[in-house]
Each structure stands twice: as structure tokens, then as C-alpha cells.
């Protein structure tokens, strides 16, 4: 059994069938990419994993727990972290504060009224946050306001925030969207490094085939809300259905 089991999931938006009887198994420790043309239902599927959308039918099980109808913070506390298409960080706070918040969330759960201790005196948490910043190579920017970071650094910071929680499953929604090639390559390197050192299960939704084929160990191709193929990258490239639906024409060279 995989760490994430999606069974017969369907979702309609009015007359539009966004997801149609999707079955998917994500094995623990793998990097699994979900690709597909625009409107294939990739983001809808991801939103069903994190509690943002509730499917009309089917089940989503994570590590034996149903994720259906759960609040995002509860799903996160189970061990699922998410990286957004546009980096979601705490813009008004310093880089260091951005990273220490998830450390507290991991230790203290979804609510704790610790109003008297001082953040600076929580030595364990401070050390952990410092270590996370070293891991993503941002320790020299710790005092900077997160709002003033470059797009690439915001992405790194968001990754550090997710990793600070030692998640079992990391969901990445187009992690390199809108990035320059250099930033994209840095992000790929960072994700490879995370995969090597931490062995976290990752689900990546991505348009950029360069990213997908650099990282993924398994690929699922969605088209019109249904998975049309699932295999290792080498086989996906030559899959006739995939070529027809997605990789045909200009994309095949990627």
C-alpha cells in the first residue's frame, strides 16, 4: 500500500467534469510527478489532497487517515506540507521568523498559548531554524524581510519552511513556475538534495518537462480529468497516448 491512496475520486464544477474516477497510488519515498495539459485537473487533484476541495465521490487516504473534509491545518499536522505555485510566505516577517514558525507548529501542534516565553530563549527551536536556513543556503539572509527576497529565494524559503516540519509527504504545485532558467536549475538541485538527504515522498505538479524528467521517479499523466498513463519517465516519453495528448508537437523536444 502506498503512503497516499486516491480511489475513484471525481469532482465536478457545474457542468465541467474536472476529475473523473481518478485512481492513484503514491509509494513512500518516491518522487512522483503529475503532468498533463492545461485544464487536465492537476491542481484540482492536489487541492483534494490538502483539504481545499472536497471531491464529489471517492476517497483520499494518507497513511491510513482519510483526508476528506479535513481542515488544511489538520492535514498538515498529519505530515503533509505544500509548496504553492506563487510562494506563500510571511512577507512582513524576517526570514528567520518565517522558518521558526513551522518549527513551533511541529512541536506545539495547531494551538498553544505560549505567551510568556521569549522566542529567542527557545534554544532548540532557534537551532533547528538556523539549521534549516543552512540547508537551503540562506543563513546570510536571516535578518532580511521576507518580502524583499527574489522569487527564487522566496521559493527556497518556502521549501525550508515546509522541510522544518519534517513532512512525510511534500506536495509541490509548479515549484518553478515563472522562474528564470538559472533559478529553475537551482530549485531542481535543491529538490534533488532534499530527496537524497531526507528521503521525503514528493508529489510534483509541473509544466516544465525539464524539471519533471530531472526529478521524477514515476510520472502520472492526466488528460481531461482522467489518468491516461502511469510509468517510469523513460517509458512515459515514448507512450503513444501521452504523445498524442500532451508531448506531441513543440513539447516533444523537452
Amino acid at each position: 500500500m502506498g503512503i497516499l491512496e486516491v480511489r475513484n475520486v471525481s469532482k465536478r464544477f457545474g457542468g465541467l467534469k474536472a476529475l473523473d474516477d481518478v485512481n492513484l497510488t503514491i509509494e513512500e519515498g518516491t518522487v512522483h510527478a503529475i503532468i498533463g495539459p492545461n485544464g487536465a485537473g492537476k491542481s484540482t487533484l492536489l487541492n483534494c489532497f490538502v483539504g481545499k476541495l472536497i471531491p464529489d465521490a471517492g476517497t483520499v487516504m494518507f497513511n491510513g487517515h482519510s483526508l476528506l473534509g479535513q481542515k488544511p491545518h489538520k492535514i498538515n499536522q498529519l505530515g503533509v506540507s505544500r509548496v504553492f505555485q506563487t510562494p506563500e510566505i510571511f512577507s512582513g516577517l524576517s526570514v528567520f521568523e518565517n522558518v521558526i514558525i513551522p518549527c513551533f507548529a511541529k512541536r506545539d501542534g495547531s494551538f498553544r498559548l505560549h505567551a510568556i516565553e521569549t522566542v529567542a530563549n527557545e534554544v532548540d527551536m532557534v537551532e533547528k531554524a538556523e539549521q534549516m536556513l543552512i540547508d537551503v543556503n540562506m543563513q546570510d539572509k536571516r535578518h532580511m524581510n521576507a518580502a524583499s527576497l527574489s522569487r527564487g529565494d522566496k521559493r527556497r524559503l518556502e521549501m525550508a519552511m515546509c522541510l522544518a516540519q519534517d513532512p512525510r509527504l511534500l506536495l509541490l504545485d509548479e515549484p518553478t513556475a515563472g522562474m528564470a532558467r538559472a533559478d529553475t536549475n537551482n530549485t531542481i538541485d535543491l529538490l534533488k538534495q532534499i530527496q537524497d538527504s531526507r528521503n521525503i515522498t514528493m508529489v510534483i505538479i509541473e509544466h516544465d518537462m525539464h524539471v519533471v524528467f530531472s526529478l521524477a521517479e514515476r510520472i502520472t499523466v492526466l488528460a481531461q480529468g482522467t489518468p491516461i498513463a502511469e510509468d517510469i519517465p523513460a517509458n512515459i516519453k515514448g507512450h503513444p497516448k501521452v504523445q498524442e495528448a500532451y508531448l506531441g508537437g513543440a513539447h516533444s523536444g523537452a
Partner: protein, 402 residues
Amino acid sequence: MLGLDKNDTKLLLIVICLTMATPILLQPFAEGSGMAQFNAGYPDLMQRFAIFGIFAIGFNILFGLTGYLSFGHAAFLGVGSYSTVWMFKLLSMNVLPGLILAVILSGLFALLIGYISLRRSGIYFSILTLAFAQMSFNIAYSVLTPLTNGETGLQVYASDPQYLMDETSLTSTHFFGLAMSASQKVLFLGREFTFNFGYYFCAVIAIAAFYLSLRIFRSPFGLMLRAIKTNQTRLNYTGINTRPYALAAFVISGMYAGLAGGLLASMDPLAGAERMQWTESGTVVLMTILGGAGTLMGPVLGAGFIKYFENIFSKINENVLHQWFSWMPDGLEDAVVWVLHFFVGKGWSLTLGGLFMLVVIFLPGGLVEGGQRIAALLRRMRNKSDGKSAGDKPGTTPTAAE
């Protein structure tokens, strides 16, 4: 010291010194001089500085940290005042039971209002709190008259039970026998300083309230509140349930408001429904923004500023203006006085409004930001005179520390 780092300890010590020396600092002009009316060192006003300081410090924990703008905090001020006066009526004129009840009841009331209002955010939250406060105000005037004494206001009568009173008890408000109205006047260099027990009682509580808010600002809880202000989505996806955090901030700030209301009644044992009206809620919003929302000292500065205007500028009338400008030729004097009289006396709120607009437009960080800019300017000027380039020193970034 006291779990604070070096800078915060320094800040706290400065606040303590300033608060303790207020009766002297606010009395800089000699009695009988033309400027004497700018002196603010009389007990009634100083008590208000401290009490509204507490109100604004508490409000800042909600608005400054989480960004939730409540327009209904006067309701808690009113609840605090009514509870305290009821304790005077039932027990004795000792303020302690009243203040304790004020904090507890306003906390419970805040829990109820916060629980409902925090289901929405932004403008809807503000409107909900405003509606609740106006409801409380109207109910206090009408159906709750047996509890609030309606328009007359709740006050202590000789016929009240006062179970803990005996022949030796004071009949004015006191703290274990020390009367709030007790004052010591000292004449020094033509200035009359009034050291009033009521003021020092409020001041000590205000310092404690400031210290507590300082600890909250520096705590993981305070960090979560600031995170709510910047990005609730990320906080939810970081495993944090934001609502109990916002509710806790709401209740804490409600308790601060209740304490302030209780202190108002302790200085003058009277509680009226108008204390719950929306104008009072608006005043605390103005205080916080004028001083600098989200900063530690801002709300205190804002509270002092507004209370000073309300009490000092409102006393300057046309006669006073004529006195000031009597050295001018008659026609010109009349013209100047005619222009200025709109801004003083009853027109004090016009001056305050203008000032508020200037601050919001040019200093979005409030008076605290103004102070920081002046400090940065002075530092640059000093660096230049030392022959260093201004770029050597790192610029100041406004943080919650200031």
C-alpha cells in the same frame, strides 16, 4: 532582567522612569505664565493618560499584531466600568474586587463577541464588532436599566448595601485605605507639582500592562499573531489553527479594555452607557494608528497625544488667543484670532483630525516612525560630522522592537 533582553529591559526602564516622573514632566511652565495652560500635570488628566494607555496597549495586541480591526472595544470598557461600580455598591469602596471582576467579566464578554465575530475577517469582522458594541450601548440604555441605571448612569448611593463597609471605611474610592484622591502638592521654582495616589495606582498597573504586552510581543504566541496578519493561508498550511490564536488575542485585548474601564470607574465612581458608544471605540483606533500600530510604544504615545489635545487644546478660547496676539496691530490680531479659533477650544478635534491625516499620509508607521526618522537623520548628521560616509552604518529597519 525579568526575562527580557538588554534592549527591552532598557525600554521598560525608560517607560518606568517616564511614568514615574510624569507629574513633573507634564508641568514644565511656571504658574501664572502665558504658557501655563499647556501644563498637563493635574491628576485627572494624568490618570486618563495612564488608563487610556492601558486601553490602547491592549487594543494593539489585537489590531497591531493580528491586523483584526475591532470597532467595538468600547463595549469592554463599559462592562469594566459597570462591574467595578457594582462592586462599590455591593461590597465597599476598595477598588480591588471591582477591578478583578471588571477583568473577568470583560474577558468573558470578549470571548462571546470574539467567538462570533472572528468567523469573518476584514471589513465584515469590523462591522460585526461595531454592531455588537452598539447593541450593548443601546441595551445598557434600555432593557438593562436595572443593571446600568440607564441615562443617569450607575453610581453609588448611601442606600446601597455595601456589605464590607464599616464606620472606619473610606467613603471615596481607595486601595486598602489609600484614597485615590489623596494628593501631595509641591511648589518648586514657581511650578506646582501634584503627586496623586490615584495616578500612581494607574501608572503602576499601566507599567505592568506594558510589561505583559512586551512579553506577548516577544513570545511564540506573539509571533503567531504577527503571522496571522501577514499570511493566514500559509499559517493554515503550516498546521496552525488560526482562529483560537485570534480569539485569544481578542480576549486579552478585551480584558485590557475592561481593566481600563474599571480604572476609570475607580478614579470617578460613575459608569454611563456613553462609555460604550462607537465614538469611544473609534478613539482607541485613532490612538493606535496615530502612535503606530504594531509598535510597543506607539499606542501609549497616541493615547497621550489624543487625551492631551482633548483636554488642553479644548481649553484655549478666543480670550486666550487675544491675550497671545495682543502685540499685533488690532486688525491683524482679529484676523489671526478668527482663523485660529477654528482650531482650538471646541474646534480641537479639527486640529487633531488634520494632524491625524498628516500622520497617516506622511508617516504610515505613526508617531513612532516619525521618531525613528528623526533618530536616523540625527545619526546621519553625526556620521557626516565625524567625517564618515553615511552609508557605513546599517539603516534602521522598523521592527516590533521600537
